[in-house]
């Protein structure tokens, strides 16, 4: 428990540091968001409007940096991340609220599926070393070595098209209104299939490989021989003795990859024009949309931190050696 509180304190500190950096970066880069917004409106703005924009973005020149900092924290706690330029005047938090579920659903499910499939295959490949399962490894490794955008483009070229079942872009049929009905969900699933399959293909081999190698290492441990000598059923030795122990490094890898669900899908969402948070970031970078970028970075930072905390907790549950006694 004490260990957990320590970790929590550490993550709170990291979160504070990340948010503070997030506050300073826009203020350190040459020019400021307002100037670029003014440029966007090409001089059709009055001085009053410009000043109020500065206040709106928390860049009020009359306020000290400290009071700006305090205001910034107040806004963050209220979920107010400013207004987006590209979608002016929609608040950044509203944009993120709309795009986050898409990313989490697509990448979250595929990451989980990839972990489960890869780990199970890795367990079998490691346990029955030298069987056909080992032949799977070069194939999956080859597939994962293809750069993701190329795989995505290839999938679109070969499988998507006007007459194809697979749509080439978007998150759902353009005419539909997002809601919880069968038609919309069906369309969303249909649109997510191609990106999901490509993610799966490119990520599954990593799990297979690490799990297989850990299984091979663990299989030569003394307690595996003891488990065999005990006359336990083969399945029990494989699952409860070998895989259970081999899983530990993979689980922390999985928790970390959860953190990158939000941030690491830029390419997927760009290639498939998927309405997720990575696509937002892509648009924000293109349009110099500082508040939106800040918002996306904030979400990425927090999700990486939460995933790390999760990894710590899961490890604590799985490996008794990491638990400290009081």
């Amino acid at each position: 428990m004490k260990f957990l509180l320590q970790r929590l304190a550490f993550y709170l500190f990291t979160a504070w540091a990340a948010l503070t950096i997030n506050f300073f970066i826009p203020r350190l880069i040459p020019g400021d968001p307002v100037t670029s917004l003014i440029n966007k409106f090409q001089g059709q703005m009055s001085t009053d409007a410009i000043n109020s924009l500065y206040v709106l973005f928390g860049l009020d020149k009359n306020a000290s940096i400290w009071s700006q900092y305090v205001d910034y924290w107040g806004q963050v706690f209220h979920g107010d991340l400013g207004l987006s330029f590209t979608f002016f005047p929609t608040p950044v938090s509203e944009i993120l609220r709309q795009s986050l579920p898409w990313t989490i659903a697509l990448v979250g499910i595929t990451t989980f599926a990839s972990f489960m499939i890869g780990t199970s295959l890795g367990v079998l490949a490691g346990w029955r070393r030298g069987s056909i399962m080992d032949g799977l490894l070069p194939v999956t490794t080859f597939l994962s070595s293809i750069p993701y955008f190329w795989l995505g483009l290839l999938a679109i070229t070969l499988l998507a098209g006007p007459d194809s079942f697979f749509p080439s872009s978007g998150g759902y049929e353009p005419g539909l209104v997002p809601s919880w009905n069968a038609e919309f969900i069906g369309s969303a699933v249909q649109h997510s299939l191609l990106p999901a399959i490509t993610i799966l293909i490119s990520s599954v081999s990593g799990w297979i490989l690490t799990m297989r190698n850990m299984m091979v290492t663990v299989a030569s441990e003394d307690y595996i021989t003891v488990a065999h000598a005990k006359g336990l059923p083969e399945r029990r030795v494989m699952v409860s003795y070998a895989a259970r122990n081999a899983l530990l490094p993979n689980v922390s890898g999985f928790a970390l990859s959860l953190g990158f669900i939000v941030g690491g899908t830029l390419l997927v969402e760009i290639v498939f024009s998927y309405p997720g948070i990575g696509y937002n970031l892509f648009q924000a970078v293109g349009a110099k949309d500082y508040p939106l970028m800040q918002g996306v970075f904030l979400v990425i930072t927090l999700s990486v931190l939460v995933a790390n905390l999760l990894a710590d907790v899961v490890y604590l549950l799985l490996d008794p050696r990491t638990r400290k006694e009081g």
């Binding site: 030569s220 307690y223 488990a227 006694e325």
Partner: protein, 332 residues
């Protein structure tokens, strides 16, 4: 003579296949009798652990059993050959009839499972009809016998000391009350005080439960004191077999003699401490004839030419001992 419980006959173990194969155990014939402690001693690489793994069919690849049989005599029923058991029969045989205590006390327990989980799953696998309460009671009783208090059941292996872990392993080995317990250097990783305690306890448990022990070690001094009979292994073969007292007082093979001279006696007259010159043979290129002849101080021409067989020595006329040596009076 007591009834045999485990008869190893003409047992061969190779590492690898075909031309490249290394013969680690060659033509070993050894009988373990009911209720006795049979010591198996030899240098590193003499094949003693390989023999133990081979007998229980636990050899990791590339180990291959290339010949021989291991006949087990169950408490009731007909004897059978362990080598011909199917996988299912073998699983039933393991631990319930013959359990093993391994060398690495530290690594024999799975670090992520509680002691109780690891004790209970073996009971569950072999006696599925037993109720969970009865299983727990059995495990606790056995731990108590080896001197571990019942509240340690919920401990993880890393919370126990090395001695405690080996006690747990011994308790686990006895939990199904097998007839044969194979101990492969069970006390090597422990300090001498702990060694003594555990061995004393083992002797006591054996008297109470009546199992037979095949005790493998490189520490001959330990065996002399604590086993009924001793077999000495060299280069994959048994070179001498005798009752401990006989072997200690009157060893017939020059190698046994060398081993006995390499540790000091606590009582009796002083004797010179001497090691065995040279080093254990390379299994890939075994010397011709008796594999000990390059190191043997008493070797003569015949030793390099012919392999001596394990026979009852004519000089002693004692059916309980045998030796594989060409020296006068040692052949039948």
């Amino acid at each position: 003579m007591k009834a045999p419980v485990l008869e190893i006959k003409n047992f061969h173990v190779d590492y690898g296949l075909g031309e490249q194969a290394v013969q680690a155990v060659r033509d070993v014939t050894l009988t373990l009798h009911r209720g006795e402690v049979l010591g198996l001693a030899g240098e590193s690489g003499s094949g003693k652990s390989t023999l133990a793994y081979g007998v229980t069919r636990l050899l990791p690849p590339p180990g291959v059993i290339s010949g021989g049989s291991v006949v087990y005599h169950p408490a009731s029923g007909d004897p059978y050959d362990v080598m011909t058991l199917t996988d299912t029969e073998l699983r039933k045989f393991r631990w319930a009839e013959t359990s093993i205590v391994f060398q690495g006390a530290m690594n024999s327990l799975n670090p992520v499972h509680k002691v109780s989980t690891q004790m209970l799953d073996v009971i569950k696998a072999h006696e599925p009809h037993l109720s969970p309460q009865a299983r727990i009671a059995r495990a606790q009783e056995m731990l108590k016998l080896v001197g571990i208090s019942a509240d340690r059941m919920d401990a993880y292996p890393h919370q126990l000391s090395g001695g405690m872990r080996q006690r747990v392993m011994i308790g686990m080995a006895l939990v199904l009350e097998p007839q044969v317990v194979i101990m492969d250097e069970p006390t090597t990783a422990l300090d001498v005080v702990m060694q003594r305690q555990i061995l004393a306890q083992l002797v006591e448990l054996r008297e109470r439960l009546g199992f037979s022990v095949l005790f493998i070690t490189h520490d001959l001094s330990l065996l002399v004191e604590f086993s009924d009979r001793i077999a000495i292994m060299y280069g994959g073969r048994i070179v001498e077999e005798a009752r401990s007292a006989d072997l200690y007082k009157d060893s017939l093979h020059p190698y046994s003699e060398g081993l006995l001279k390499s540790f000091p006696a606590l009582r009796g007259e002083r004797r010179e401490l001497a090691g065995i010159p040279g080093s254990p043979p390379d299994l890939r290129g075994m010397p011709s004839g008796c594999s000990f002849h390059p190191r043997c101080p008493q070797a003569f021409d015949r030793c390099a030419a012919e392999i001596p067989l394990l026979e009852i020595p004519s000089a002693r006329n004692d059916p309980n001992r045998s030796v594989a040596c060409w020296l006068p009076g040692r052949t039948a």
